[in-house]
């Protein structure tokens, strides 16, 4: 018995030893891609996550002030040592030109803070000795506001929920409680809902237009199917920017589409298509069509023609045979195609930017604005995180609803 066991183990080890070179070879073949993925995919995502919660500015610029605030009770106006520490920190900041950085960061949470910090930095440069408290309060009475101090103290932590909360239209009150942002500040949930809506609409339209095309592709004679396939694929071989620009030309008020509609007397006035959501959805639907069609087509092609014939021979009329036998078997392709288009649509940027109006901008457009115009990397990263989480959630939801084996991406 024991000998037999030993034999078995020896055989097992021998098999593993024998296969080792093959395993190594397989790993070494995949290694370049693994390295590339880590550098180009995993690392940026981790950086994104860190940026969305990172909070270095206050800690770097006001270390003494934060130390002095440790004993502060949080409700009264702080005492002289806090102001003295602030003055010392701001002097250093002025020398290092980091005051603007701090002002910009605190300005997100306390409006007017940027100019207050810059003015204070200029003031402390001229002061040699204290007491400082009086000077600060004379400069701007808001320096005595306990709420401002509470927010400064709160930002002494290395991580902050501020950006993520903002991306979800939430904010932290000075007392720490989370509340909903009111009025015209609350835009991000709106943008997120709009992004989901547009992506859903585009997915629906590509499915309605693409499903019959995929079916015709599978049953058409080879020569015709080849030409049709070329027409499906052609858009994929043109750059996204070119196709979007083409749509700008087509959709303009004096563009081709309006010319045709007018010539046919279908409309009496020129339609506003460019810079509208309808235009955005039309252009995105066109661009996304191949992504929906191809997975559906690949699944349809794998369904034998005898399936429909069998259903007919058993008594099913054509429509019943199609919906009860054929359509359910195309589900893996439908799910894969829709998932692909929906997820890609969530990240659309160029098309809404060029074809859509101000009210049609999607999450990605806001991310770009915060990166390029406002230099607010934290908020851009937080919006990215929200988009990532929503995408993952939808993907997992799909998996739960239809099962992983029902999604055929290849």
């Amino acid at each position: 018995m024991a000998v037999a066991d030993m034999d078995r183990i020896n055989v097992f080890m021998a098999v593993r030893r024998a296969e080792k070179p093959a395993r190594r070879a397989a790993l070494s073949l995949a290694l370049p891609l693994i390295v590339f993925l880590v550098v180009a995919f995993v690392a940026p995502i981790l950086y994104l996550l860190v940026t969305a919660v990172g909070n270095p500015e206050t800690r770097q610029v006001l270390p003494r002030t934060l130390g002095a605030l440790e004993t502060w009770d949080g409700v009264s106006v702080p005492d002289e040592p806090v102001y003295a520490a602030l003055a010392a920190d701001l002097k250093v900041a002025k020398d290092n030109s980091t005051a603007a950085l701090l002002g910009k960061r605190l300005n997100y949470e306390i409006s007017g803070m940027r100019s207050r910090v810059l003015a204070a930095a200029r003031m402390v440069e001229r002061l040699d000795t204290g007491p400082y408290k009086q000077k600060f309060l004379e400069l701007n009475k808001d320096w005595g506001s306990p709420e401002s101090w509470a927010i400064i103290k709160r930002n002494g932590t290395s991580l902050t929920p501020y950006y993520l909360l903002t991306a979800l239209d939430l904010q932290q009150a000075p007392n720490g409680s989370v509340e909903r942002v009111q009025g015209d500040q609350a835009i991000f949930l709106d943008v997120l809902a709009r992004t989901l809506f547009v992506a859903g609409l585009v997915t629906l339209f590509t499915l309605i237009l693409g499903y019959p095309v995929a079916y015709v592709l599978t049953i058409a004679p080879k020569a015709i199917a080849g030409i049709m396939m070329l027409m499906v694929l052609l858009p994929l071989w043109t750059s996204l920017l070119v196709r979007t620009t083409a749509w700008v030309v087509l959709l303009q008020s004096d563009g081709v589409i309006n010319d045709v509609l007018m010539a046919l007397h279908l409309t009496s006035d020129r339609l506003q298509l460019i810079f509208t959501r309808a235009g955005t959805v039309i252009a995105m639907t066109h661009i996304q069509l191949p992504f929906t069609i191809l997975p559906i087509y690949s699944v349809m092609r794998s369904i034998p023609a005898t399936q429909l014939r069998a259903a007919r021979s058993l008594g099913a009329p054509p429509s019943s045979a199609f919906w009860r036998i054929y359509a359910p078997q195309t589900l893996p392709g439908v799910v894969a195609g829709c998932l692909m288009t929906f997820i890609l649509s969530l990240g659309y940027y160029i098309t809404p930017a060029l074809v859509g109006g101000p009210r049609d901008q999607m999450v990605s457009n806001f991310i770009s604005v915060y990166i390029n115009r406002d230099l607010n990397w934290g908020l851009a990263a937080a919006l990215g995180v929200v988009l990532l989480v929503v995408t993952l959630a939808i993907y997992l939801l799909f998996l739960r609803l239809v099962g992983a084996d029902k999604i055929k991406l290849g």
Partner: protein, 373 residues
């Protein structure tokens, strides 16, 4: 040529006929006919097999009967009604496809219940019918499985149960056992034949496997090049092939070219290439002259015995290859001026021959069949 009308006049009785093909032609491309002049009658309760090599038009014929293809010309009558314009779902014909065509997203029971819903059978009645149908093919226990969880043989049975559950008067099968291994195939042949007999179903069965056709069929239609070459019961087909194609397609056969000299009381006298004269059966062959052949099955050739008998042909050859195969011996003999003749000698007659040795052989005159080339 078309032998169907002549060889089985008995089954042309219209009272018995369930299926009639009348001068059916089919072309897919408008140029070539893949089915040419098909005339065929299938009687009620009959097991008819269409046998032929790949591309001979068997599937096309079956598809026209099932309603999936339209005849280019001619008529198909089912129960004396022309059906060529009727859609398949109205024909009430059971169809078993080569790849089974089970519905992968349904359980076995749902597959079998599928045809019932279109016939207004639902609920308990449907469940009972499904149970019965699965019982017939010994699959009662597997109703909840998906087709993918079944072996090839089990899938085949489900397809059978599904095609039988609505009690069609006619069942069509297109190479249904092609994907199974030999042992399973032989068992399924017997099971299908038993089901067909016990349920009294009319069956039209397509195969390219001659032993399958011989095992199961009441009659066999041999297809070649879009035509029926011969329509006959298995024994006739084997013993009295109508032409050279049938002779070589069914079983092993020596085909030897010859010249027809004369006809003598139902027998033909032929001269072989080396001048040997033989007698042969096959009075149904009309031609005369040089362009003929005789066919002899290897098992009908034996080593010549004592004395000369009037009912035997005798000829001489040289042994080329000799194989001993346990129950018999295979001899490859050069005879009639260089033609190779294969003989299958029973083991009890077996002797050793050196290659090149002279051998005297004989075969029954009735087993030498004269054929047109």
């Amino acid at each position: 040529m078309n032998f169907s009308k002549r060889i089985s006049p008995a089954t042309d009785n219209p009272v018995d006929a369930l299926v009639r093909f009348e001068d059916v032609k089919k072309s897919y491309d408008g140029i070539n006919f893949v089915v040419k002049d098909l005339n065929l009658t299938v009687s009620r309760g009959e097991f008819l097999t269409m046998l032929g090599p790949s591309g001979s038009g068997k599937t096309t014929t079956l598809m026209m009967l099932g309603g999936f293809e339209q005849p280019t010309l001619g008529h198909i009558l089912l129960d004396n009604r022309p059906v060529e314009r009727l859609p398949p779902e109205t024909r009430n014909i059971g169809f078993v496809f080569q790849n089974y065509a089970l519905f992968p997203h349904m359980t076995v029971a749902e597959n079998v219940a599928f045809p019932l819903r279109y016939r207004g059978i639902t609920g308990i009645a449907a469940r009972e019918r499904v149970r019965q149908a699965l019982g017939r093919v010994n699959l009662e226990a597997l109703g909840d499985r998906r087709p993918a969880q079944l072996s090839g043989g089990q899938q085949q049975r489900v397809a059978l149960a599904r095609a039988l559950v609505f009690e069609p008067s006619l069942v069509l099968m297109d190479e249904p056992l092609g994907a199974l291994d030999k042992q399973l195939r032989e068992r399924m042949q017997i099971e299908i034949k038993q089901l067909q007999t016990s349920l009294g179903i009319t069956m039209v069965y397509v195969t390219h496997d001659q032993s399958e056709a011989l095992t199961m069929s009441d009659r066999i239609a041999v297809f070649h090049d879009g035509r029926i070459q011969q329509l006959a019961d298995p024994a006739t087909l084997y013993n009295e092939p109508a032409n050279r194609f049938v002779a070589s397609f069914i079983g092993e056969n020596n085909s030897l070219s010859c010249t027809l000299l004369a006809r003598e009381g139902g027998l033909a006298v032929v001269r072989m290439a080396d001048g040997t004269t033989l007698k042969a059966a096959g009075t149904n062959v009309s031609g005369t002259g040089t362009d003929m052949s005789i066919s002899i099955r290897p098992e009908n050739i034996s080593l010549a015995g004592e004395g000369v008998r009037a009912d035997l042909n005798r000829f001489i050859g040289k042994a080329r290859d000799v194989f001993f195969l346990g129950d018999h011996m295979r001899l490859s003999i050069e005879a009639f001026g260089g033609q190779l003749v294969t003989a299958r000698i029973p083991a009890r007659q077996a002797r050793h021959f050196a290659s090149g040795a002279d051998v005297v052989l004989e075969c029954g005159i009735s087993e030498c069949r004269l054929l047109e080339v």
